[in-house]
Symmetry: none
Subunit: 415 residues, 2 copies
């Protein structure tokens, strides 16, 4: 089965000056990937005839999808440029004109000459009627290359693609089935993970590709296989999911679209357990993530953000002597924070963080990036010391991720 390749081309100055993010390309790429088409490039270019022409002239992709530049105003030139490129002439597309006339008359508005030009299309294209806007899409077929032009308005583009373009593409090309599985790991750096998986990676057959996708404190592992046959693709890949779990199951917290805060929520929910947090240096970031999950009120009782020592003493009942003797950033303090917030907020578990996020506040003994995290249940406290970075934002985010992972691994033992 020959690989079918695609280019996605976005036309519009507002993207090149950084004013808007191009979300169309990602959406199209995702849809094409799902039906087995390999997107080999995504390009953003300006509304200029010569750049539009250049972007398709030496393009070797089997399929080219262009979005944008189909409006009625004079800065929109995609249609004219493609008409010229495909040596065609513009002609009235009667169904589109009829639709424009009835749409304007139903809103008691006058259809002016500028708007009428939206019904002009190149003679040699297949028109893709746009039910959600005025600019129709266009499908050009020349030799073995398919070029499709769609409006840039996200809703119109998506509806046209979904309802007309994708079915037509599936008919026109024979594409492989793509099967992907993603595993989310936490608590192990990319390079250590690669070492742990070195032998396992050797067992992967040629048809399976592996990608490491790191983010702060986490690494996603993505396995991909292409095959004509769906069952064969699953049969080929799935055994390697089983064997990778044998290597690194401790570090895997979820698959595919799972989020850490959601995985934790599900554990708590399933076991009828509840949580309270005591946060110092993370300043509410942990509870913010926990409560970003819809339905989190079923297991999250609340938290105390004990930013000042006074709040640690008065609201979390940490003895002033503990802070005086060991410091606010210490195993003793974080232990009491987790234990006390658990009891005060009447919860199954308590989770606490105290540290020096920086950039100020570090000492020789406790430099910026020193963070203590603790998990408390009725009979147990688990603490951990982190030595993070000199950077405030990174420290807050990493402390949050590691605290959530401590919660995850600890609650799993309580099931």
């Amino acid at each position: 089965l020959k690989k079918v390749t695609a280019s996605i081309i976005t036309i519009g100055d507002e993207i090149l000056i950084g004013q808007v993010t191009d979300t169309n390309s990602q959406w199209i790429a995702n849809e094409l990937t799902k039906i087995g088409i390999t997107v080999e490039q995504m390009i953003s270019i300006s509304d200029e005839a010569k750049t539009i022409t250049a972007s398709i002239t030496n393009n070797k992709s089997d399929l080219i999808i262009l979005t944008g530049g189909l409006g009625p105003t004079k800065d929109d030139i995609t249609k004219h440029t493609l008409t010229k490129y495909f040596s065609s002439t513009l002609t009235i597309h009667q169904p589109t004109l009829n639709k424009l006339i009835s749409s304007y008359s139903s809103r008691n508005k006058e259809l002016n000459d500028l708007n009428k030009t939206q019904a002009l299309v190149p003679q040699n294209c297949t028109v893709l009627e746009n039910e959600f806007g005025t600019a129709p899409g266009m499908w050009f077929q020349e030799n073995n290359q398919t070029t499709i032009s769609l409006p840039g308005v996200p809703l119109e583009m998506k509806k046209l693609l979904e309802l007309q373009v994708l079915p037509k593409i599936k008919e026109h090309f024979s594409t492989p089935y793509i099967y992907q599985r993603t595993l989310h790991t936490i608590g192990i750096p990319e390079s250590n993970l690669a070492i742990k998986l070195a032998n396992w990676e050797q067992t992967l057959p040629e048809g399976i590709s592996l990608a490491y996708l790191p983010t702060l404190g986490m690494v996603r592992l993505r396995l991909t296989v292409y095959d004509k046959n769906k069952e064969k693709a699953h049969e080929l890949l799935n055994p390697y999911i089983d064997t990778i779990y044998q290597e690194i199951s401790n570090y895997i917290f979820g698959e595919d679209n799972d989020l850490l805060e959601q995985v934790i929520g599900n554990i708590l929910l399933d076991n009828h357990q509840s949580l309270a947090t005591a946060e110092s240096c993370t300043g509410g970031n942990i509870s913010k993530l926990i409560t970003s999950v819809s339905g989190s009120s079923k297991y999250f009782n609340g938290g105390i953000i004990s930013y000042s020592n006074d709040v640690k003493i008065n609201s979390l009942n940490i003895p002033i002597e503990t802070i005086a003797k060991h410091g606010a950033v210490s195993e003793e303090t974080v232990t009491l924070m987790a234990q006390n917030v658990r009891v005060l907020l009447n919860s199954t578990f308590g989770l606490a963080v105290t540290g020096i996020a920086g950039p100020e506040g570090g000492t020789w003994e406790k430099p910026v990036g020193t963070v203590w995290i603790a998990f408390a249940s009725e009979n147990q406290v688990i603490t951990k010391k982190l030595q993070l970075t000199p950077h405030r934002d990174k420290n807050i985010r990493l402390s949050t991720v590691y605290a959530l992972d401590l919660l995850r691994t600890s609650t799993m033992k309580h099931q």
Copy 2:
């Protein structure tokens, strides 16, 4: 003055399969536009040597910025590809190696061989040291073309660009002087702002362009002028900043790089005032934003996240009768939340939020998106009811912004 052109190239399969949105390109495009460089194309390509080479081979831009593919694992090949393309060889960059060694030893971790390869750089490039990660950036200068390779991790890319690349670009190229002033408004929708500013906009001369840049709950107004001469540009633009303040000063909370949480922090700091928060539906998002500011411990005492009614009753001392009679989402409850957290945490001001973020929990009388916010000082409480959207994430973010704005406008009256 000759136009300086740029290409931004993003390397990584995860973008082409539509798994992640490329936000790096927009950010870079915006920064380059600000210093007068014309971005002519943005390209996303896969981690393959031949596509990386092809993307730069016939590239006519004066400046090429590549991001991504600089990790230590074998799917990251940007560095090797560029080394070959620029006919160079890899050599150890001692400062990077030293940094790796000290960073690993300070965390009591072992530097493995794979990590050590991060210190290898092509001999003929200028190394851009990365303080925020392991992969250094690279600046290649060949004839009249500049090619820069940066890591794809957004934080590392941004810091490298800000601190090292942009200053070097400004030195290397002669670009027009661009003078921009941005005013941050809050609490007024874009369309109302446009109506209020209609007459003022008429007074703007041809050379000054105005952009409305809306984000959740806020609108930035950006005025831009291009000129060869710095003084002339300032003289032309600055008077319009004075006149726009006459129109809408109540809505302007800051200029240029000001952040709302920072503006508020400065007000509290300057007046030796302190703050405590009581959050329900925002779940810690307000305190998280407040504490994202370095030095916030000087004015932020802490907060109570009263997600459950038990916490409202036990930790915030809200009488059970108040909740029973008026509900947890009510003016009466939010008033007591703000007053009580102020007293409990011994602070000058209390700020409170309670609401229904959704998607569940709405009633006919109090639909999803109903939110009460309150500000309390020793002698005063100011409350406000918000009717927001059906969307959880949007409601949390909007409630946070409006609560912070209530704090800003209320504290200003206490100066």
